[in-house]
């Protein structure tokens, strides 16, 4: 077989292709969400799919997040494989009871009698001047809940293949697609046809400091690593990919070598996933650390509209660079 050329596509197209594959492969699969059909998807992920698959497979829902999530959960219990779309994580708060008290809880609470193989996709994040009620990053919050698998695809490859892995898994999975990443373009290695939903990945190897991150903070971290390299600091950038369960083995292996760690997380700093990771490093890798852990998170404010204020509120590449310099070459 000849080597196929890498395929170029956007993150959005990767998400769409993942859904198309799922619908083509499994008749139990269908998409349910607001504006997924006629509108083509709020972020155009499902554009064209209604025409291709019909209204039974691409189901436009009323604006009713609780029943959108809950019916998806019930349908999954009943033998279908719904791909629930909550338009953005900002609206998911209306579905939180169904996600936490039903999806995450029923398997354990029923003594293992019922699995909930539902997949819920949500757009997440800030950076498009959509103001406070449309700019949350709640994936870290959801990662607090036992029973859920929480996924944050940060690359085209993960956008393309995480969905299939989540659908194959018997557990409820949340997939957080960052709104800024939808337009990102990249190449898919044709040799890769699946990904796992358990491991973190080293996206850039380095020996001086480990940067742990996910989602739209990944490109910022990689950009920071490039600048740092020109100064002779080699940062290892790890894409967490899976926020629950955390791949502590990969995290510890890296930080155990570099002995310095920066966590870049778009959630608000207090009680965030970065706080969880920092706690685990302090608990289990304390004696390997040569410097305090640094966290670059969103400022503890509702995310504002004005461009410069929003930029100041969200994690900044410059702050990642400064943190790395401070750790590797303390004054």
């Amino acid at each position: 077989m000849t080597d196929a050329a890498p395929i170029r596509m956007t993150y959005r197209e990767a998400c769409r292709q993942a859904i198309r594959d799922a619908l083509a492969r499994d008749p139990r699969c269908f998409v349910m969400g607001e504006d997924v059909g006629l509108y083509g998807g709020c972020y155009a992920v499902t554009k064209g799919l209604l025409e291709e698959f019909g209204p039974e497979r691409i189901r436009d829902m009323p604006l009713a997040e609780s029943v959108i999530a809950g019916a998806g959960i019930g349908a999954a219990i009943g033998g279908l494989r719904p791909i629930v779309e909550i338009m953005t994580c900002n609206f998911s708060l209306l579905a939180l009871d169904q996600i936490m008290n039903n999806a995450a809880t029923i398997p354990h609470m029923s003594g293992g009698q019922f699995a909930v193989p539902v997949v819920i996709r949500m757009a997440t994040g800030g950076g498009r001047q959509l103001a406070a009620q449309h700019s949350h990053s709640l994936e870290g919050w959801y990662a607090h809940i036992p029973g859920l698998t929480v996924l944050a695809p940060g690359t085209i490859e993960d956008a393309r293949y995480m969905l299939a892995a989540a659908l194959d898994d018997p557990n409820p999975a949340l997939i957080f697609e960052h709104i800024v990443l939808y337009n990102a373009e990249g190449e898919l290695d044709p040799a890769v046809t699946s990904v796992d939903i358990r491991s973190a990945r080293v996206r850039r190897a380095g020996g001086d400091v480990t940067i742990l991150t996910y989602g739209n903070s990944l490109p910022k971290s990689l950009a920071a690593a490039d600048v740092l390299a020109s100064e002779g600091i080699e940062a290892e950038v790890i894409d967490l990919r899976v926020l629950r369960p955390l791949d502590t083995a990969t995290i510890f292996a890296s930080v155990g070598r570099t002995r310095r760690c920066i966590i870049v997380d778009e959630g608000w700093k207090s009680g965030s996933i970065s706080a969880e990771i920092a706690a685990r490093l302090a608990e289990d890798l304390f004696f390997e650390l040569d410097a305090p852990i640094r966290r670059i998170c969103s400022r503890e404010v509702p995310i504002p509209y004005a461009a410069h204020m929003e930029e100041a509120a969200l994690p900044r590449t410059a702050d990642i660079i400064d943190a790395a310099r401070g750790l590797v070459r303390p004054a």
Partner: protein
């Protein structure tokens, strides 16, 4: 209209027996709660037996049941064994939910019994979902979704009713209107206290039923289920009933009078059914005694099963947080 409801000796005694099984089980629960064998919250079904029994009589093994935290009656009437239910309430791993859920969270895969939900209104979206799956995978199957009139205040009630109607999903919505949401009487909670009116707003056929009469409930249920199975979409039954006991074991019942309770007890479904069966010679005194004795034995056996049960190992605490397969 179905002619399958034959109120003959066999069926009449069946309805009576099923209600008495529930009543006897609940009485035993009170005893065991006071003896601290059962802990946490305990919500008893005394007075409402006709609803669970009447509805379940119209369902078959294809169907699914979603209910509230006041779920013992539904579970028993659905065919979940008294032993596993009692063991569950004791917290034993031989309980239907491995002791993980307790009184409020009876789950049973065999009988498609999906809880046991402690969030008021939280089961309705779930029921809409199982009905959606049934529509695709098991046409003809129905999901019976029980909830109290208090749930009609929750947003999830409205979202679920609307979607079920829109997509013509096979849900039998059963509102057990016992007039009190914990201690709030319906007049303080609902602008329209005739709950079945809400069904009309969603274009769901709905009726009010005498929830103290198992025959009335079953008759309405059969008609509703037949309509749903034929693809008629969801149906709504508001069963007017009353709980003779407190909301739970912690309730001082300051919100209602003894007189009111006494008045409703005159309509006790069990007493009335018993009297009617005896008067109509559809049950003899001897048969009545035999039924009671059999039920007493069944309840005692359930308690013995629970007592003999074992505690799940702490080492298994994280088991089933995530599943390795889809068992259902």
């Amino acid at each position: 209209m179905s002619d399958r409801l034959k109120l003959d000796r066999r069926h009449g005694q069946h309805l009576f027996r099923e209600m008495l099984r529930i009543r006897a089980f609940e009485a035993k629960c009170v005893e065991l709660y006071q003896a601290q064998k059962i802990r946490g919250f305990l919500h008893l079904y005394d007075g409402e037996e006709a609803v669970a029994v009447g509805i379940m009589s119209a369902l078959d093994e294809r169907d699914s049941v979603v209910t509230t935290y006041r779920d013992h009656g539904h579970a028993i009437a659905r065919g979940v064994g008294m032993g596993p239910i009692m063991a569950e309430m004791f917290g034993k791993q031989e309980g239907c939910s491995r002791g993980r859920g307790g009184s409020m969270h009876i789950f049973d895969r065999q009988t498609r019994f999906l809880g046991g939900n402690a969030i008021v209104g939280g089961g309705l979206p779930l029921a809409v979902g199982t009905a959606l799956a049934d529509q695709q995978l098991r046409p003809g199957a129905v999901t019976a979704c029980f909830f109290g009139e208090g749930a009609a205040g929750e947003g999830e009630f409205h979202e679920s009713m609307n979607l079920a109607s829109l997509w013509k999903l096979p849900v039998l919505f059963v509102c057990e209107n016992n007039l009190y949401a914990m201690g709030v009487p319906i007049e303080l909670a609902e602008a329209d206290t005739e709950i079945f009116h809400k069904a009309q707003a969603y274009r769901i056929p709905g009726e009010q039923v005498d929830g103290m009469n198992p025959v009335a409930v079953e008759f309405a249920a059969r008609r509703a289920v037949e309509s749903i199975r034929a693809g008629g979409g969801p149906y709504f039954l508001e069963c007017r009933t009353y709980r003779f006991r407190a909301h739970s074991m912690f309730d001082a019942q300051q919100y209602r009078t003894r007189d009111e309770i006494a008045q409703w007890k005159e309509r006790d479904p069990l007493a009335r059914m018993q009297a009617w069966l005896l008067d109509s010679h559809l049950m003899s005194d001897a048969e009545l005694e035999a039924i009671k004795a059999e039920i007493d034995r069944e309840v005692e056996a359930a308690v013995a099963f629970a007592e003999a049960g074992t505690w799940e190992s702490e080492a298994d605490l994280e088991r089933f947080v995530q599943m390795s397969e889809v068992p259902q």
